[in-house]
Amino acid sequence: MTTTIIKLNNLTKRYGKATVVDNFNLEVEQGSICGLIGPNGAGKTTIMKMMAGLTNTSGGTMEFFGQKGNGITSSRMSFMIENPMMDINMTARQNMDYIRILKGIADPKKTEELLKFVGLSDVIDKKAKTFSLGMRQRLGIAMALLSDPEILVLDEPVNGLDPEGMVDVRLMLKKLSDERNVTILISSHLLSELSELCTEYAIINGGRLVEKISAEELLVKCENHIAIRTDNINRTVALLEEKLHIKNYKVYRDEELHIFEQLDDIALVSKTITDAGFTILKFVCEGASLEEYYLSKVGGNNV
């Protein structure tokens, strides 16, 4: 049985006359990884700031762990919003220890464990000002993990990371979700990264929730054609027109056939082709990527 661990009801934020977040509703289940995606200025960071208590709400309510609290967080939640917050004149260890003391965590070993976990064990005693942006992101994530949070809210956590670093962070977050059942709310401009990580997506535009969709639902919605390659694509097309009365299709120059119907009976399509003696070189259900799906919902170019 799933438990709703984050519940945002009609969350609203106004700056003067401008409404940045407009009656935003979101429910996140325990253990899930929810990707918050939307164009620049959609209100993603503002929502996270309201959750962290860094800015007040203009309306609506927030519930964490089944308890109401506007911006009131606890040691069960951790945040990394915008750029990681740290004292650049202190070392990685000192920054971690500062947060450890602030959170009242007694065990100093945890600092080294987490810095090792995020791959900063070699630079533990180097000042943060010498770190690259990616290293600072890792340190920020390590600082957020200090209190063993049940909810982790991350705003652009892979920003500035190299491809290898992105994979590391993705695997780390997956590990946290799988092994510790940590619920993660994450925003990122890199939709390809999110698509490999998230179990559900919340698409936001103009401060409103456009759609909340699970990864499974997205897969089904995006699967919009069957891509086929055979040893004779023209005769295959003729065969399918004759036998299955397929009309909604397109043949591409690279001799690949895309069929936009019969998606619920792909076995029949496959059998028809093989029974006629054609060799199937490719047969796969394909769909739009998360980016394409997102753009179809938001209708813009900027994420």
Binding site: T73, D87, Y98, I101, L102
Partner: protein, 247 residues
């Protein structure tokens, strides 16, 4: 509250800014030592005729310098967004403001107080000017003044939440706001100046102390002005925190 103070002191201990500040203070004290030992030999102007006045000028310089350093320190907390951690960890606003102003204020006052003690004590002991008739009372009052300076500097910096504004505070509050009105009031309203109008002026408070012209009534006014200023600032910072205009 305990964790807040402990974390703040930890950060203070490892701050590169404070290591630099301590180094500069030590160098300055070493450089000033010969002058303090025998000011009349080094300073030929009228200023040198009074060890008291000389001490007062030094006091003003040290307070200006140290409050600016404190402003930079607190401003850096906000520039690096370190101050956000306390809010994100669910600490109540009241506790955040109280712990920061008290811990930083007290430690900073102590750092400022030690060179001040040297400035006032060394010439007095060396020259036998009889500066101090009631040393305990005077040094307690002096510490209270410096503590007030430090605490309100923390509060001003917390209100501005900005490194540049915070670093200018020493000059704004304890330079322009303190000294300029004092001069104007003395010149334009001498009768008023003789009464309580200058009690909010740190330099005036110090002058009265080192000249031992203070009386019971003066002390009460000084303490009252300190409480009023601190309370107003605390209210402003609290209001700014509840507005939550963080970066």
């Amino acid at each position: 509250m305990y964790n807040l103070i402990k974390a703040e002191l930890y950060r203070l201990r490892h701050s590169g800014l404070y290591a630099f500040f301590m180094f500069v203070t030590a160098i300055a004290m070493a450089a000033l030592l010969p002058i303090m030992m025998n000011p009349k030999e080094y300073i030929k102007a009228d200023l040198a005729s009074s060890v008291f006045t000389f001490s007062q000028v030094l006091f003003a310089m040290i307070v200006l310098c140290t409050t600016t350093v404190l402003g930079v320190y607190v401003g850096t907390l906000y520039n690096n967004r370190m101050a956000n951690y306390e809010v994100m960890n669910g600490y109540p606003t009241f506790k955040i403001i109280t712990s920061k102003s008290l811990s930083l204020g007290f430690i900073h006052a102590l750092i400022t107080y030690i060179p001040m003690m040297a400035v006032l004590l060394i010439p007095a002991l060396k020259n036998g000017n009889g500066l101090i008739e009631e040393p305990v009372k005077m040094f307690i009052l002096l510490f209270v003044i410096i503590l007030h300076c430090s605490i309100v500097t923390v509060l001003y910096s917390m209100f501005f939440k900005n490194l540049v504004f915070a670093s200018l505070l020493g000059y704004v509050r304890f330079g322009i706001l303190d000294m300029v009105p004092t001069v104007i009031i003395v010149e334009e309203f001498p009768k008023l100046a003789e009464k309580e109008a200058l009690n909010i002026s740190i330099s005036q408070q110090c002058m009265s102390l080192v000249r031992e012209t203070y009386d019971q009534r003066f002390i009460l006014w000084v303490v009252l002005s300190m409480i009023v200023e601190s309370a107003i600032l605390f209210g402003l910072v609290y209001y700014s925190y509840t507005r939550k205009k963080f970066r």
